[in-house]
Amino acid sequence: MIKVRDVHKRFGVNAVLDGVTLDVQDGETLALLGPSGTGKSVLLKTIIGLIRPDQGDIDVDGQHVTSLDRDALARLRRRIGYVFQNGALFDSDNVFENIRLGLTDPAEFADGDFARQRVAECLSLVNLQAAVAEKMPAELSGGMRKRVGIARAIAGRPKYVLYDEPTSGLDPVNSDIIDGLIRRLNDELGVTGIMVTHDVRGAFRTAHRIALLTGGRVVAEGTPDEFRSSSNPEVRAFLERDFDLAPLETGTSA
């Protein structure tokens, strides 16, 4: 279980997180919605210890991320997969080596046969052909890069996977593939997920619970049904902006 308690983070004069409190139960997928620049990605990075909060506590399975030493943090990270917004694939290594680096157990990493088998499994899980393993990241499309990023994140069989904008920049077909994949990972492998996204449709289809982060705080939390029927004005404003196709103001007059 992940418990985020009163987390604050400031960059210069800009308070990005201003007292975030959030729980993620084992086995669930939580979608974190919110406008751009509200600190959703920063929150994910504080959970895995890539960014240190100024104040507050993050507890992952009883371990306090902010007070872990270097080695303990590395061990904890091996139980958390992180899917980066743009894939963050190592561009000097091919897909095979990228996914192999996700094998966080040293013995599994060193075992060439096991690595080949596991990389093939992970590619299959993300609906990519085995031949993709030989390609370099530069040869992949945006959707394939995202899927390889997910394959790398799950290669070490993590308990948690943190998805940072897994469908941003993708066409609807590829977005659906990624959404389906996140759901499958949860259903079939029991992976607990936190998904940062702007894609309201994907969040409603994929997540068990949704949280809305605005102004550096979680202002609403609930199941997709509770969210749909919420009277919270910030939830309404966010959802209606997404679903209503109001005419754009172009700034010119006829």
Partner: protein
């Protein structure tokens, strides 16, 4: 007036604090790189791959420039030492100036540009595209995977390149002297031997090792600390080359004082 003075004080204070913070970050990075030594299975193969890349990749430019430097040194020595000065002095001047100074410093400056820029740009790009974050998120150490192999590759290959450069510059200097000056092989060899001390060769390699550490650490520091996208990568690359070059010249002076002047 008071406001202007306060502004100057504020800027000076900020400059000093920024400088101290940079020194602190550099020291912390060196400690981190040292910790990476605990994972030889990770850094050893990567070190050999890096060493192969920078060694083979730099060999041509190093040999080319050292060949020209050796030839020019011989011709200028011949031009300056005429009249009553015995011609064999050309052999001594060429040997001493190449081994003690030109070989290691020229190679150091060339490689500060070639390797320093490459490492800073590579690491900087990895930083701004979150590849370094990705490595950390997998519980892996950027020090043992990325930084240590680069520093060790520099330490392994740059002294070797300096030895190659010394030899090629000496040969080209000898050849140029014979073509342009009334000097025999015996005169040149006598001149080369008469002021020669075995320590001169060690000094050349010691300097090369210090320059190698400087290039490796400084370029890794700039690349690793990159922020703010493509412009940041550009700043890091320039910073790495300029800082490495200045530190090489500074070290050149310090090492000469410490090791050559009693």
């Amino acid at each position: 007036m008071a406001a202007a003075l306060a502004q100057v004080q504020q800027r000076t204070g900020r400059f000093v604090l920024d400088g101290l913070a940079a020194v602190g970050r550099f020291a912390a990075l060196i400690v981190e790189i040292g910790r990476g030594l605990a994972e030889p299975k990770v850094w050893l193969p990567r070190t050999f791959a890096e060493a192969h890349n920078i060694g083979i990749g730099s060999l041509f430019i190093v040999l080319l420039i050292s060949a020209f430097a050796g030839g020019v040194t011989a011709l200028q020595a011949g031009y300056q030492f005429t009249g009553n000065i015995p011609i064999y002095v050309v052999g001594a001047i060429v040997t001493q100036s190449i081994v003690l100074e030109l070989g290691p410093v020229l190679v150091g400056l060339i490689l500060a540009g070639r390797i320093g820029a490459r490492y800073a740009a590579e690491l900087g790009t990895m930083r701004v595209t979150e590849q370094i974050d990705a490595l950390e998120s997998l519980g892996r150490s950027p020090a043992s995977h990325l930084l240590l192999p680069k520093v060790l590759a520099c330490l392994l290959m740059i002294p070797v390149l300096v030895v190659f450069a010394d030899v090629v510059a000496l040969l080209s200097g000898w050849f140029a002297a014979k073509q342009a000056l009334p000097i025999t092989d015996q005169d040149f060899a006598y001149g080369a031997r008469v002021f020669w001390r075995p320590f001169d060769a060690y000094y050349s390699i010691i300097k090369a090792a210090f320059f190698a550490l400087t290039i490796g650490l400084v370029s890794c520091y700039y690349g690793y600390m990159t922020r703010f996208g493509a412009a940041g990568v550009g700043r890091s690359t320039t910073g790495a080359v300029v800082s490495s070059s200045v530190l090489i010249l500074l070290l050149d002076l310090v090492l000469a004082k410490l090791l050559l002047v009693p």
